[in-house]
Amino acid sequence: MIIDKEKVKKIAHLARLEFNEDEEKNLIESMNKILGWMDKLNEVDTDNVEPLRHMSVEVNVLRDDQVKPSLGHKEALLNAPKKDSDYFRVPKVLE
């Protein structure tokens, strides 16, 4: 895969990032470098190798369905940039 202007724009949109043209050039360069390295890795034959999804071998790390105290309304809203007595407030989003 080659990263071009279009791809960077798409990725930027998905990540909700904005940058100027210099930064964009920079990004194209470094992302292509990363993918180049990935291509190098792709040379390794991994056909019979399971992907490593987790760093530990533990399984079924589960919890019983018992309620424990929640954070509480005041604390929950404490760090919100904008709020009222009930809700988080965010710029209007409409689909």
Binding site: L71, R89, P91, V93
Partner: protein, 483 residues
Amino acid sequence: MSVYDKYQPVIGLEVHAQLLTNTKAFSWEASEYGALPNTNVTVVTLAHPGTLPKGNKKAVEFAIKMGVACGCTITRYNFFDRKNYFYPDLPKGYQITQDKTPICVGGTISIKTKDGLVKNIALNRIHMEEDAGKSMHLAEELDTLVDLNRAGTPLIEIVSEPDIRTSEEAYVFLSEIRKLVRYLEVCDGNMEEGSMRCDANISVMLKGAKEYGKKVEVKNMNSIRNVQRAIDYEIKRQIDLLEEGHSINSETRTFDASTGDTYSMRSKEDLNDYRYFPEPDLQPIVVSDEWLTSIKEKMPALPQELVKKFTETYGLPEYDALVLTEDKEIALYFDKICAQTNNFKAASNWMMGAVKSYLNELTLSINDFPLQPQQIAELIALVDSNSVSNSAAKDKIYPALIASPTKSAQKIAEELDLIQQSDTSALGRFVDEVLAKYPDKVAQYKGGKTGLLGLFMGEVMKLSGGKADPKITTELLKKQLDA
């Protein structure tokens, strides 16, 4: 033939069911409907840095239960994936879901349409995931308001294959799913409150075509009936477009219940790229034979099993069995009556008639019904032993019993003086009296006018104050007259 008959609609449904766990899918706070905004939240749900999710064992078991009930293959090695997108009601910026290893694969839901056709709708998968919070876009507000109580609520998503062909099939399919989740007690199945939600993928193609048409996804139907309406509308809209020479736009549309129309929400052209990847914060879930067996052992009777029992063991008509199993509690109550009577059809008649109409009238559930199954069985026994007439049992004893549910049916029948005269000697005296009173009619009867039996019967009834057992009275009359 109308133009609409030229086309074959193809429908697949995605059903989200909120699981009835006490806590959330990956966090320990209460998962409940209707709490004050932003009170059921923790640092995990709010995605504070450095926090880690931890799976809810019961949510996994509920998902497996549903899979077992639908005949799915249970995936033994499960991991979770992240589905990435930005929306204010999704604090982490990704939804934890199962993309690669849905816990249930395959399976079917059997449906029966009005014309009696039985069809198996294949399931693609059932997977576990978490719900998002709730955004409110109020007209009078400049901001969007976000309530995160719902964020992290455990869900299962049931995905059908595109096997559904009519809106009626979709209606029955959803009704079956709702019945199942309620029987299993994994979800309350309340579409109005959003605890069960349905998205419909709809396309049309010319009959006999090999390739499906372009599909449109319709969301926001808050009842099973509205799913049916939205599908009907959408099928017509798509056919009209094609007939006018237009093509179908692959898009997501929303349903407006007030007009019955669907409106475009977003085009699939600016396709969401969810960039799924394995969730590293949650360890895999391995379903062992032992675990699966213990879940299977705890499975309640399913509607189809009860239908089988009611028709085969109790010999009920299929119609009765289907009505009685519509609601699990009703079915179990009925089953309890049947443990105490052998007149199963009478028990069914009581349930579908007097009991249901009482519940409907007061909009009560069977759990609030004042009578015990045993009391209904007693009523049946009173009628079967000819102690009381059927109408006395239904119209007099039953309401009196509901008014004083601590009494027995027998006691009420005695108090209301409804016990039928079945004492042959007493009835014999009435019979003699009546026959002596109408010698001319007796002669006519003997001459062939057997229809006069009803007159004698009525007279005996009058003398007995309406309490003569009709069967025994008839026998006595005939014995005398035909001698």
